[in-house]
Symmetry: C2
Amino acid sequence: MTEIAAALGVSSATVSNALSGKGRVSAELTAKIRQATVDLGYVPSQAARTLRTGRTGVIGLVLPDISNPLFPQIAQAIEQAAAAAGYGVLIADSRGEIAQQTAAIGRLIERGVDGIIIVPRRGSRVGEIGTPVAIIDSPSTPGNTVSSDHWDGGVQMGRHLAGLGHCKVLLIAQSSASNVQNDRIGGLKAGLGKNICHETLLVENLEAIKGAGCALGLAAKVADGFTAFAAVYDLLALRALTELQRDGTEVPRQASVSGFDDLVWSSVVTPPITTLRQDLATIAERAVEALSDAITDSETPFGGPAVAKQSVEGVAMTLVVRQSTGQAMEPVVVPVADTREDSR
Amino acid sequence: MTEIAAALGVSSATVSNALSGKGRVSAELTAKIRQATVDLGYVPSQAARTLRTGRTGVIGLVLPDISNPLFPQIAQAIEQAAAAAGYGVLIADSRGEIAQQTAAIGRLIERGVDGIIIVPRRGSRVGEIGTPVAIIDSPSTPGNTVSSDHWDGGVQMGRHLAGLGHCKVLLIAQSSASNVQNDRIGGLKAGLGKNICHETLLVENLEAIKGAGCALGLAAKVADGFTAFAAVYDLLALRALTELQRDGTEVPRQASVSGFDDLVWSSVVTPPITTLRQDLATIAERAVEALSDAITDSETPFGGPAVAKQSVEGVAMTLVVRQSTGQAMEPVVVPVADTREDSR
DNA sequence: TAGGTTTGATTAAACGATTAATCACCTTGG
DNA sequence: CCAAGGTGATTAATCGTTTAATCAAACCTA
């Protein structure tokens, strides 16, 4: 910057003013400075700016449950939104452990991030950390900043399955400690309505007994009359789909399978999985915006390290209908003396 | 730091020296300073340090092909290795497009990263960018810093399948422009040996004709005598597995399926997929180490913006045998007049 | 004891931007 | 013709750390 100033015979303060548009600089001089900027290939020193202003222009992204296959999409969306808002994104992984999560946050703070976006590990709460924070979890989580409307997503899927004529539906979840999963399950039940019989399978419980990666025993459920299997996320849907197929159940003719999140593979398996897609771009935008506001607030005297304010409503999810769900099989007609029940 | 100096009645330079261990400071004073450090909750200002030293302690991570489901694992591994080496990790996404890749790298440089780790999009080359760079691709890529020994992985899988008695194997790849995929295919062929019949299916070509997500037509291949399907990464393996199962082929009794990378879902589908796991922790460690060296070198006069030096050999992959591969089916014996061909 | 070396600490100048305070000059109204 | 106000630019301090240069005192050696 000093170089530019010297080259044009002005002071460095003028250059700074011209580029930031803050002080009073004539239009022509501003233009000349702009030109010199590109001619000399000027790149502002973030470090100096940070030292002076106290802001790094970097936000941290904490994803405790990094094995979450949704990670790429979230990271991508956040990075885009942050870049658009002029922020860089520093990642922090905590390998799932709560203690490491704290350590990861500590590393971010030492690096001087202006704020942090956290996608909490299921069931964990985020304590006060002295830095602006935005949380992406579920609308029912206290302190949640923004998230998908998981409940409504469940409702959509419930209605979809109901509309296909399914009367006995198995809801498959992993853990009862997850707000997101609970929301989805709740929505599913609401969407199915009270005339449809449903049952919930908690894989967590099953695995506690039969070991991780055990069979879900879905063939038995099919024999028991279940015609639809609504999983709470695509990984479980995939598990259900492959188990059903291996055991000779035709999907979707004999059983429908659905998931949540529209992960990469959901569209390439056979049959492709009907699922709900999150609008992560919007979520990321809102999270970054809310965090940005919180950062600004926290700088006003007595604003304090604010937590980003909550969005009132969740971001809508969109139903993606593929071939893993279909019309419910005609229930096996128990031969009763009723001739009006024709073949079909 | 000034505060600490004032509190102890020494100069700030002494504090700096004591903490960095560089100058000459008496042991007792150093101890007192250390104590004051924790008492006052001193956190060094990265910004000031950066301004003075020109190093940010942050490296950039560029993953152009972010849809790559291996992303979480790579990001996690790099973050861990970087944190251990005292670096932070700034991510940059480029939505696949080459132009955006350049833009993303530009953003990183503006933020002042000390170096960049790139996992290149298949088939793309990384140009000179004036900053130390480490590349993770495949041993056969020029300029590659470190990567798995994909070829050897292929060999391992090839031998595994050969050992199970498979005589007609379909190799499934996505693109012929990927060095990684080519290495794996080459290794597979070598591992199978020349007595085993194999054929390569390029999904890219198939989709150019039949559209993305089309059926691979594996049932026909099974009818044609193929008993094993070796995909070049797990997503393709999953696609193959589900297609086979949907069409009523029993895996692994009638056909074996294998993949690469051991992605999250590979172990939970039914049957779980036999695959090769990359040692990403080691790769990340070496990449960070090499990059760190390159950063140091680039600071010596005339060291220039060095590219991290290459590791001589790739990092070994480990074969994870699960239930998707099994003994080859006895080929249907064509009834010829040869009685010595006994039943078995 | 003078001269040289070692030890422990200080001084002061950077690094590159931002910004409040100041200044010189010009315009304009009374 | 002078005071008031506006405009365009400069001055200089500041952010917190590192580090080369310097310095004073103590220690050693001949």
